[in-house]
Subunit: 298 residues, 2 copies
């Protein structure tokens, strides 16, 4: 029987939240405001998809994951930094995120920029902390840092966001849309799965299979997000419905329509699951995660 | 005889520039604009003080420095990221830097924010690249990443910039001014010297001495910068003279006057030099560097 994915997600999310709480200094730390702003965005009810993917990936290989949690948290720090910067007035100019005013709406632009910078730096502080991560050999830790930095940098998220910014209101072709999606969202999701695999000492073949899983899962996630932006209520998605359309952003449904996009999301999720065919039952949470991503919109 | 510090600086600067050129993808790399913006700020005639301090620190311990150059470059990537973000309209709102329009003036705010993010990420990509840095053992590399991430994060530069932003136009006391200086500028200068020392396998005692040198050198550098902001011409300092005053920023001369600030800068530089008393002639470039920092204003 398939594991109860909702219970699994709730359990893992609680573990990630607890680890993040222990990792990030309290809001009263000097200099104040920057810690308050970092925590405001970090503890805004995120689903912790990336840390959970890292954990589920390591579990699929039979590894214990207690030592992986700080690394998984670093992925969430980077994800949160990217949300804060993407929401800025000069960027997507979003007022709401996860149902609450965005970081710069509450703390002002300067503090939001610096809170983002602080989170990004903190991710690497955590990843280089050999006391905290003493169970992971140093060479493997450098591999993990490399995977994460590449995914969040100019050849990953930053690149995706730049192309997204430059495409607003323009006639964008499908390769450009795909570039934006695979870089802006896909890169860190793929990296999350890879990081779990590296932590668990995956051999080349299994690392490849999990990487493929991560690529498909990232794509399914993005198609689902695009669909939800149109069909979801503000309550469901935590920000204005239809905000992509309003900004003239090209999305999957914009090219293919809602129904065809839903079909593609399902197909991509099935491919993610098919990538895991040589894995045993321990990969069931990854399989259920792929299904879950698209059931949100089907 | 003391080494000719100007020739030394010119030689090291050329080596750093060459290494940076090889490290950062060309401006034509996709996605364009972000690479153009990164390179615009990176190759704007910076003095490369931080990379040179790292190199001089390793040389003081008798180490060869070819393998250190990529690490030294990462320090400059981080320094440049911080300049781009600090110049933003929401922050210091500076139109000129090093005699040219600031990054956001040329490329717009969104691209400037992302160019900064890209540079910061790239620093860690470089630092985690075991192929490029194969001569440095992995554990030592993690120590180096740790020192750098801490210096650039919330307990370093980001913290300094937050307190600086919050202090503008307010009545600031001397401890607050010192916090701003030691974090906003001092932290990365101190880290640069430490990184060179770690690369060169300094023992505890020598690491401590070099750290102290880095702290005094950073302070001297900041006092000199404050003085130059008042006494320098626009040509000399590459931005509007008196810009600190106009923004209501508290500076050393604001508290102590120009003459007393000059005296303090000299005194601090002497302390930096005194920290090196157990080092031989190989530390002469560091000694000359400390003198050079304050002769710019004396």
């Amino acid at each position: 029987m398939a594991p109860d994915i909702k219970a699994y997600l709730a359990r893992k999310r609680a573990a990630v939240d607890k680890a993040l709480e222990a990792l990030v200094p309290p809001a009263t730390t000097f200099p104040p405001v920057v810690f308050e702003a970092m925590r405001y965005s970090l503890f805004a009810g995120g689903k912790r998809v990336r840390p959970i993917l890292a954990v589920a990936s390591a579990e699929a290989l039979g590894a214990g994951t207690a030592g992986l949690l700080p690394i998984a948290c670093a992925l969430e720090l980077i994800h949160t930094y990217s949300l804060i910067h993407d929401d800025l007035p000069a960027m997507d100019n979003d007022d709401f995120r996860r149902g609450r005013p965005t970081c710069h709406k509450v703390y002002g632009e300067a503090t939001a920029i610096l809170a983002g910078d602080g989170l990004l730096n903190m991710a690497f502080e955590v990843l280089a902390d050999q006391k905290r991560l003493k169970a992971v050999p140093a060479r493997r830790m450098l591999d993990i840092i490399s995977v994460i930095a590449q995914a969040s940098g100019v050849f990953g998220m930053v690149g995706g966001q730049i192309v997204d910014m430059q495409s607003e209101g323009k006639d964008v072709d499908i390769p450009t849309l795909e570039y934006i999606h695979t870089h802006k969202t896909g890169a860190l999701i793929r990296a999350s799965v890879r990081v779990g695999a590296l932590y668990a000492k995956a051999n080349e073949k299994r690392l490849k299979a999990l990487t493929r899983y991560g690529e498909y899962a990232g794509l399914a996630f993005q198609i689902a997000d695009d669909i939800l932006d149109i069909t979801g209520t503000q309550e469901q998605i935590g920000k204005d419905a239809g905000s992509d359309l309003k900004k003239g952003k090209k999305t999957f449904p914009g090219f293919y329509g809602i129904e065809e996009s839903r079909r593609r999301a399902r197909e991509v999720a099935e491919r993610a699951i098919a990538s895991l065919r040589e894995f045993d039952r321990k990969a069931d949470p990854l399989r259920e995660l792929a299904k879950y991503i698209v059931t949100r919109v089907n």
